[in-house]
Symmetry: C2
Subunit: 446 residues, 2 copies
């Protein structure tokens, strides 16, 4: 009798919340008091090596329980799958989850349900990379281009990108990959930092952190803007003075403006030479971004962290609406859909500068940029990954940023695993931190 | 001491599911076996008259529990509100719910979380209309145009529609409203029927139901297409033969195609003179719809039942991507956002032909079309409301369709209330129907 094959035995979920609002870390014009949170998922298996797949959707507090419920709605589609088949072809899982006709109604391919799919699909990739003994970026960079093409769902993309074109891009991307991999392992991938620029920080803290960012080797910083123009003028002046003329300074409005306001406000800040204006308006407004881009050039237009799926990215590129694609590792339907986004960007020659920060987004997204550099776009020119220096201590394999660069991960997997003690402490509402905190508040209320 | 003011005392939710998949009612190319469901919400108050507000999000089965969880996430924002204030200004509730900075991350303004907001906001309008003693369409048609403008959230719309333009449209729409109201009460509002055209029906049933639709006074029917071209050619021929050349025959692909396929398939069916092609591709693909529309004219392009919010409707109109706007009463953020959609369409001169069917969508959406006719667009030319003849028996104030027209409702409210016995029977999984059904299946499984 052949040995029985390993299966996925459980899909466990955790409602993890960090009380970040208390320090105003992460404060911006749209999100004044986020509590960075994760709807965290573990795929357990009965494989002899005990491998598990970890993934998560990132939220900012309230509603994380809705996100957890959405992940749980996928359980029946995942538990029982053959582990070897799943790891050999995560694309089938991605297509099955996206294609569930009843769950599809809840999107389709957007919002809570789609982020849940992304969490589960990313967990499958984490499992696949662990079983391959490689960090995810390397699994992707070493993979057969034809297999990578099979991992992409071209539905609704074929007017902009065909499988044959994708194969061609990936084959061309493979030329010189060995050399780039060596260079990546030596130098890492360029980062920029948002840490100085949160809206809740005063000018002294902004100046101090901006200067420190330059001293730490970053060549780009980012400031949150959009709440008050006079404040923004002052803060941009403070930051520009702190970093000097040669450091790129991006600004980020977090969707605060309508189209006309975005144009006027960005022009009012142009004297400080902003490199890009990020999320000037609704992430759904493709034509709006195109109008803003035409009006504010040479300031570049960037968006993507809230772009719901590949179909909207396709149109942002078709409409010439963005100079920078800011994919997010945990907003769309996982690695498979982000492969589509990377391919669309590569075909258009538009640089991908991923969104990160939050809980574990830096940990995930570094893998996608490193794959893009080694085996697709082939360059780090004008490519930077966002870096925010909080909450990394909760991860088993945290990012390492040195001299303004992400160090390439070498541990097998997708760097998605939270530390068990962090899970125990920050599970909401029963974890040790929240139980004590909520208990103390009840005590005060009495 | 003045009497204390009435408050919202509870937000109760119900997971309601109907086993529609067993008859293939509602089967189409994307949704082969829907179980029409509702995440149903009741706002309870301590008002002396005992008035309640009812609303719901429509889903098609699995995941309805996620939708319920999303509605429950709004409870803290709703319970305790002053009933008189809420009814005098539902727009404040809509803005507060949409603007919750933490919940906003789960969209923004799309998918599960946004449909939950729509359910609650619609329940508030139901309450407001009941307390005004008017059916919702009449509350809206009688309202001061300036107040209606205040009910609209113009965020992300101002490049296409300003409050001043909206006020002008509403003031012009008011001319002749008394006469149109009288006519509406006499004749009703034109309907079309999808009942003959479900994909799961055989040709005999299609021909019989299509002929019956004409005999029943409908001037338009609709067929589901998109699964198999040869089948579609045959079914369109059968239906066209059954209804004759003078009845409009729409076709509906339920997002099944990519852009190129949509164009080719629609052209292949052009000989049967389809009036519109509905949902030819992804509802997110504004530029795709524009390309399809250019290619398939004079066949019209219609979409909207899955369009997530006013921002995407804005762009569909800006891009000249649609001939018909198919708003849905329970997909976007409720009456307030649908006022924005009606105004955008009115400004563009594009007819609104709402999506209906499902659970209670006919009941809700008739109010919006009737308001549009009486006090905004001022015409029923080329305007029809979808009609599907199932599940109405579960509603307290079901639609009445006579001679191909929706009869104007006269009972106060938004016609959203389910019958108590239907709630008791179809609550999932504990209602009497499901408890017996699931119990029987367990018995079989043993």
């Amino acid at each position: 009798m052949p040995p029985s094959r390993a299966r996925v035995t459980a899909l466990d979920t955790y409602d993890i919340r960090f009380p970040t609002s208390r320090e105003l870390d992460g404060s911006d014009a749209m999100n004044p008091d986020p509590d960075y949170s994760a709807a965290y998922v573990v795929l357990r298996t009965d494989a002899a090596d005990g491998d598990e797949g970890h993934g998560f959707a990132f939220t900012i507090g309230r509603g994380n329980e809705v996100q957890v419920a959405a992940v749980e709605a996928l359980r029946g589609q995942v538990v029982g799958r053959d582990v070897a088949d799943l790891c050999a072809d995560p694309g089938t899982l991605a297509r099955d989850l996206t294609g569930d006709s009843q769950l599809r109604w809840l999107g389709p391919e957007k919002g809570v349900m789609h982020m849940a799919i992304g969490a589960v699909v990313n967990a499958a990739w984490d499992l696949a990379a662990k079983r391959a003994g490689k960090p995810l970026w390397r699994l992707l960079a070493d993979a057969d281009p034809a297999w990578l093409v099979e991992q992409v769902d071209f539905r609704y993309l074929s007017d902009a990108l065909t499988p044959a074109e994708a194969l061609d891009l990936l084959r061309r991307g493979r030329r010189g990959a060995d050399e780039r991999r060596t260079r990546l392992l030596e130098r890492g991938f360029p980062a920029y930092t948002t840490s100085p620029g949160w809206l809740g920080y005063d000018d002294d803290k902004l100046a101090r952190l901006a200067a420190r960012a330059v001293a730490d080797g970053f060549r780009q910083i980012k400031l949150k803007v959009g709440a008050d123009l006079a404040d923004d003028v002052r803060r941009c002046r403070v930051a520009r003075a702190a970093v000097g003329p040669d450091i790129r300074m991006a600004i980020d409005a977090n969707q605060r403006w309508d189209v006309g306001e975005a144009i006027a406000w960005t022009k009012a800040l142009a004297e400080f030479d902003p490199y890009w204006i990020e999320e000037p308006t609704s992430p759904d407004d493709i034509l709006g971004h195109a109008a803003i881009r035409r009006a504010v050039a040479p300031v570049k237009v960037a968006t993507g962290e809230h772009v719901q799926n590949r179909i909207v990215f396709k149109q942002l590129l078709q409409a010439g609406a963005v100079d920078i694609v800011q994919l997010d590792a945990a907003r769309v339907g996982g690695v498979n859909e982000n492969l589509a986004v990377l391919l669309l960007a590569a075909k258009s020659g538009v640089p991908v500068c991923p969104h990160a920060g939050g809980v574990g987004l830096c940990e995930l997204v570094q893998h996608l940029s490193m794959f893009d550099y080694v085996a697709l776009s082939g360059t780090t020119d004008d490519r930077v990954i966002e870096y925010v220096d909080h909450l990394h201590e909760h991860f088993v394999d945290p990012v390492v940023v040195r001299d303004g660069h992400y160090t390439a991960p070498t541990a097998p997997g997708f760097s998605a695993a939270l530390r068990p003690d962090s899970i125990e402490r920050y599970t909401y509402p029963g974890g040790t931190f929240w139980a004590a905190d909520l208990g103390a508040r009840e005590g005060q209320a009495v």
